[in-house]
Symmetry: C2
Subunit: 340 residues, 2 copies
C-alpha cells in the first residue's frame, strides 16, 4: 500500500520521543563532557530535513547558551577550504544517517579549528558518529520511507534536550511528559489532515508559513510536500513572507499557516487575516484552538513544533495519496544523499 511505511514510522514517534526524554541524564552527561568551559558560540552543521531541525536547534540553543548560534555553510569548507578559528565553539552536526560526506568533512574542519564537536544521528557507528567528540544517538530505529519523519522529530527533541543541559530553557522539564500524548492525539485524528490533503490535490504550488520556533516546521512541511506530493511548496517565516514573496499569493492560492499559541501567535494571526482579506488566499491554519487543522493544546510554545510536525507529515502524506503518488518512495530520491 502506498504510504504504509511512512504511516508506520510516523506512528512510532510518541515512543521514540518518550525514549529520548528518558535518556535525559545520559544526554546531559554527554553535553557536560563536550561543552567548552567559557563557550564563545555554537555552530550547527546539517542539510535537508536535518537542516530544518538545526534551525529549530538554533532557537533553543541560543536561548540556553546565551551565545550566538550559527548555521554553517558546508561549501565554505568542502569547496573553498576555508580555515576558521573556532576555539570555544561547540559544533553540532545533525544527520539522520551520519553518512553524508560533506557533513562529516565540515565537522572535522571545525574540530581542526578548535571546536568541540557533537553529532546528533541515528547511527553512532557512522563516520560522523566516529568523528565527533560526543554522540547523541537518536535510536529512532531504521527509517525505510525516504521522507524523514521519526528521525526529524527525534532531532528536534534531541536538540531541545541538549539545550536543557546547556542552560536555562523557556519550558519546565515536566512539560515533556505530555508531548508523546499530544503527538498520539494527532495520529489518532487524521481526518483534518485528510481534508487539507484534499485541498492540495489540484494545487500547483503553495506557501507554508510559521514564525519563531514554528518556522522550522513550516520549512519541514514544505520539504515533505515537495518530496511526497511533488508540489512546489516554499516555507517562510511570517516576517520574510511580508518582504516580497507575498506577491505570489493571489486569489485562492493555498497557504499552510502554523498559528500555534505563544509569543509568535499575534504576528501569525495578523498575517492570516491579511492574507485572507487582502490577497484572497486559501489559508489552512494549523494550531491550537479555532483553526482548520487542530493540534491538541498543552505543549509550551518551544515544544509545540514536535506536535505540529506530525500534523505536517500527515498532510504531506495525504496530499501525496490524493495526487496518486507513493509518499514512501519519491521518484529519483534515495535515503542517503551523497552530497560532497
Amino acid at each position: 500500500m502506498h504510504g504504509a511505511l511512512m504511516a508506520e514510522e510516523m506512528a512510532q514517534q510518541p515512543d521514540v520521543i518518550a525514549n529520548l526524554v528518558e535518556r535525559r541524564d545520559e544526554i546531559s552527561e554527554r553535553v557536560d563532557r563536550v561543552l567548552p568551559p567559557d563557550i564563545a558560540g555554537i555552530v550547527l552543521v546539517a542539510r535537508g530535513s536535518s537542516d530544518h531541525a538545526a534551525i529549530y536547534g538554533r532557537y533553543v540553543l541560543q536561548m540556553a547558551a546565551r551565545r550566538i548560534v550559527a548555521l554553517e555553510a558546508p561549501s565554505l569548507h568542502t569547496l573553498y577550504g576555508v580555515r576558521s578559528r573556532c576555539d570555544g565553539f561547540l559544533a553540532i552536526a545533525v544527520s539522520q544517517s551520519g553518512r553524508t560526506p560533506e557533513i562529516g568533512t565540515v565537522l572535522q574542519r571545525l574540530q581542526q579549528g578548535g571546536a568541540r564537536t557533537m553529532a546528533v544521528t541515528n547511527d553512532a557507528a557512522s563516520p560522523l558518529g566516529e568523528a565527533a567528540d560526543e554522540v547523541v544517538e537518536l535510536r529512532a530505529g531504521i527509517e525505510n520511507a525516504v521522507p524523514a519523519t521519526k528521525t526529524f522529530t527525534a532531532q528536534l527533541a534531541a536538540l531541545a534536550l541538549i539545550a536543557e543541559a546547556v542552560g536555562d530553557v523557556p519550558w519546565q522539564p515536566n512539560a515533556w511528559s505530555s508531548v508523546p500524548k499530544l503527538m498520539q492525539g494527532v495520529l489518532d485524528d487524521p481526518a483534518p489532515a485528510r481534508a487539507a490533503g484534499d485541498v492540495l490535490q489540484e494545487a500547483h504550488g503553495l506557501i507554508t508559513v510559521g514564525r519563531g520556533f514554528m518556522f522550522s516546521v513550516a520549512l519541514e512541511a514544505a520539504l515533505k510536500l515537495k518530496e511526497t506530493s511533488h508540489l512546489l511548496a516554499e516555507g517562510y517565516s511570517s516576517a520574510d513572507l511580508r518582504h516580497g514573496p507575498v506577491a505570489v499569493i493571489e486569489r485562492a492560492f493555498p497557504v499552510l499557516a502554523f498559528t500555534v499559541s505563544g509569543r509568535a501567535a499575534a504576528d501569525m494571526v495578523d498575517l492570516v487575516e491579511w492574507l485572507r482579506a487582502r490577497r484572497g488566499a486559501y489559508v489552512i491554519t494549523i494550531g491550537e484552538g479555532d483553526v482548520d487543522v487542530p493540534i491538541p493544546a498543552g505543549a509550551p510554545e518551544p515544544l509545540a513544533p514536535l506536535v505540529a510536525s506530525v500534523r505536517a507529515q500527515q498532510i504531506a502524506r495525504e496530499a501525496a495519496l490524493r495526487r496518486d503518488l507513493d509518499p514512501d518512495f519519491p521518484e529519483g530520491l534515495t535515503k542517503v544523499t551523497p552530497t560532497t
Copy 2:
C-alpha cells in the same frame, strides 16, 4: 511604461559599484575602527533582499576573518527577548532603508550584549545608521521601484569591500576594475534575458539554483521573480536541491541554473546534466561560456555574483512584462516593510 523605473535603476549599477570601490579606503578605515581586536566571530542581521546579500557576505567575511559568521534570527530578539553575550563579535546589519524596525532592534540588542556594530545601508541618517557604531553608506541613490536592484548589488560590493578590510580575500584588489564593465556588458545585451522571460511567460513555478558564492544570487533571482512576476520561484543551493526538493522537478519544469566558473562549477554542471537527462527539466543556464544566458567572463568567482545579479534582475523584469505585470510596483508590496 511598465518596468521603466526598474530598468533605470538597474542601469545605474555600474556607476554605483564603481563609486563604492573608489571609497575603498574610507570603508577600510571604518572597518578598522569597529573591528574587535581579537575577533570571536561575525553576526549578520537582515531580511528580504538584504538577507540574500548577507548570505553572500557570510562567504566573503568568513574567508577573510577566518572566524564563524552567523546570520541572526531576528525573532530571537524581537519575540523572545533572548540576551546573548557577544563580546568580541562584529555585528553587521544590512538594510536598504535602515527603517525596518526589527533590524534596528536586533542590532541594538547585540550591541548591548557586547558586539561592535556596523550598518550597511543607503541612509546613514536612518534609525539603523544612527544606532550603529559605524556605517557604510551605499550611496546608491533613491530607489523608487519596489524590487531592490542597485541597492542589492551595492550591498554585495560593500560586504566584499568590508571583507577586504577584515583580512585576506580570494581575489586581487584590481579585479574590481572590470566589474562595472562586465555589468554594463549585461545591460547592453538584453536579448538572452528576454528569451528566458519568454520561457517563463506561462510557467506555474520554477526553481533557481546556484552554489557557493552564487547561492545568494539564486535566492535573489527567486525573490525578484516572485515580486515582479508573481511566479512561485524557490532558490536552492545545488546540494540542498538534491536533498529532497528535486522531487518537484518533473518533465519541462523550469530551472534557472547559475553555472559560473570556479570551484562551484563542477557540481553545478553535474546537476544540470542530471536535471536534463533524468528529470527532463527545462534548464536555463546562466554563466560564462556555452550557456543559454551568458554573462561576460572575467570576474573572479567571488565577484561574479555582482554580474550575475544583473542578469537575474533582467530576467525577472522581462518575465513580468511577458506576464503583463508592472515589475516596478508589485501589488500589495511597499518599499519599506514594517516587520517587527
